[in-house]
Amino acid sequence: MDFTVFAQQIANGLVNGMAYVLIATGLTLVFGVLRIVNFAHGEFYMLGAYITYFIGTLLGLDYIAAAAIAAIVVAGLGIAANKLIFWPLRRDHEFTILLSSLGLALLIANGGELLFGADPKYIESPFADEVLDIGTVTLTEQRVLVFAAAVVALVAVYLFIRYSRFGKMMRATAQNPNGAALTGINIKLVHAYTFALACGLAALSGALVGPTVMIFPTIGNWAVLKGFIVVIMGGLGSVTGALFAGLLLGVIESLGGGYISLGFMEAIGYAMIIAVLLWRPNGLFSTARGLR
């Protein structure tokens, strides 16, 4: 096929991949750092999208402001979820915590359906229909925004975890909560902040990805699965890994869909994940945990 199409497919893949990365960033925090498999992450993504929508349509605020408010509100919800569910369960078996997050996901998704209605909605964004021509490639401004925001969010999170004092406290808490408590770390606060940050990021992804598609109460399912795949494939807790994994997944899906079979697009993505994990069981950028 000709080069224009190829370049366009690569561009599509990169943007979709970046959307995955954006969703995965918050997951990396709770999953990679606190080792909590949070199935409700996708629902916070959904809430982010819906809150942006409602602030836009009901309060008439502009898109950017609505997205920012949504992120803050959902961060607050994340703190509440942590306080009610994840903090009390922190010492229980990982499967128990997983189930609680599954329950929370069901609760938010069904509550959302009840509250927001089953009808799909569309977030009006000034960038959604503005088309940019970059060379032979055509992209909407919204997609460029998704890409740029993901890069910024990712770099910020990376620097935060790696170098900030709080990041160190988060990692310590993840690896040994008792030891962390004995070192003087307020692990309750660490949990709360981590959830706030992760949920805020989830909401932001919802607000940014939202205008490229339609939103409806079950969009979270899709988001959380893609997010997990990216986190695992990148290597637990590795932000750089998530970046590469997300982009790789996006591009492979788009090329696979474009040149092999659209119906098998997802399956091709999964096949790649399987190949990656069999080749590097701990993900692309695993911090190899010694030899077992």
Binding site: M1, D2, T4, V5, Q8, Q9, N12, G13, V15, N16, N110, E113, G117, A118, D119, P120, K121, Y122, A128, D129, V131, D133, T138, T140, T212, V213, M214, I215, F216, P217, T218, I219, W222, E253, S254, G257, G258, L262, G263, M265, E266
Partner: protein, 352 residues
Amino acid sequence: QQPPLRIALIGPMSGTGAFEGQLGLEGAQAMAAVINANGGIAGGRKLELLTYDDKGSPEDGVSAAKRAMEQDNVDMIVGGWFSAVALSMKEVTRDKIITVMTSSQHPKVTEEGHKYLFRLNATSAMMSEFYSKAICERIKPKSIAFINVNDDWGRLELENYTKLLTGCGIEVKGHEFYNRTDTDFTTALTKLKSLNADAIYVAAINTSQGATIYRQIKQTGYRGKVIASAGNMNPKLVELSGNSLEQVYSASPFTEDGSAPSLKPWLEQYRKSYKNEPSFIAALGAQAVQAIAFGVEAAGGDPRAYDKIAAALKSQEVPTVMGDLRFSDKGQANQAIHLVQIQKKQIVSVRD
């Protein structure tokens, strides 16, 4: 005071099809309200609708049908919004209870012709027969490409239209199938755009997928014509798609400016009760209720006289919001189909 006529309404109330299920439910309920306000049927018998969620899955559809029949002992069943559900449900209800299938277009639903089974929507074949003519004669693209949902209906659409449109000299340049779970279509649309067809035909049932496709067609920079599949145009879709549906054609048995006498009261009732705009799916719901009411009335008011009711429905014209219906011996309705177009964000019927 006679006991009410109890109708089970089985449809997707949650999950991906929840919005379509909701529209159908609203349509049926608005019609039931209209009939009840006019004193019910057969001398004062009121209609009572019981709703069941099939979640769009055959298993839940079967469970719901069993529950309706065995637990709640309903008189009639309305259901079958999705073909897969319709096909499995009919195995449970066949020959036991009057069942009115609604939007499913799968030919197999009425192929065998169970004695108590009726289906309202036109089959794929009936729709394409009409619509392809309109495309050939009115829209007249030189070449066309398809983007269809990957299920029996989507595949059937491609088959029918490829045959019919090639027949009138339109070149079919290619097609793409997308999955029912997809949310982004840029990859497929990039491929289609590169085919440089005169028109893109979109066969999408799901409202949100449809809206995303129409928007993204424009966002890829495609400048040709867009043709929407028959039977899948609704006001919500128009609202969600922004400007990208402007001037787009579709075909539908339902138009708001129809002449059926029951249409106006139903539209009023619907608008009064619900915030959605009346749509084809809602009209199917209304039609199902009307058909049942008509049958019971014609059979003398006994809701369990299934043989009589079935016979009445198959032998007489049933007046509905979309005009008078005639059912075949196998229970297939014969709907009148109209060409519609989106003009200034309104669905208007195109009459010559």
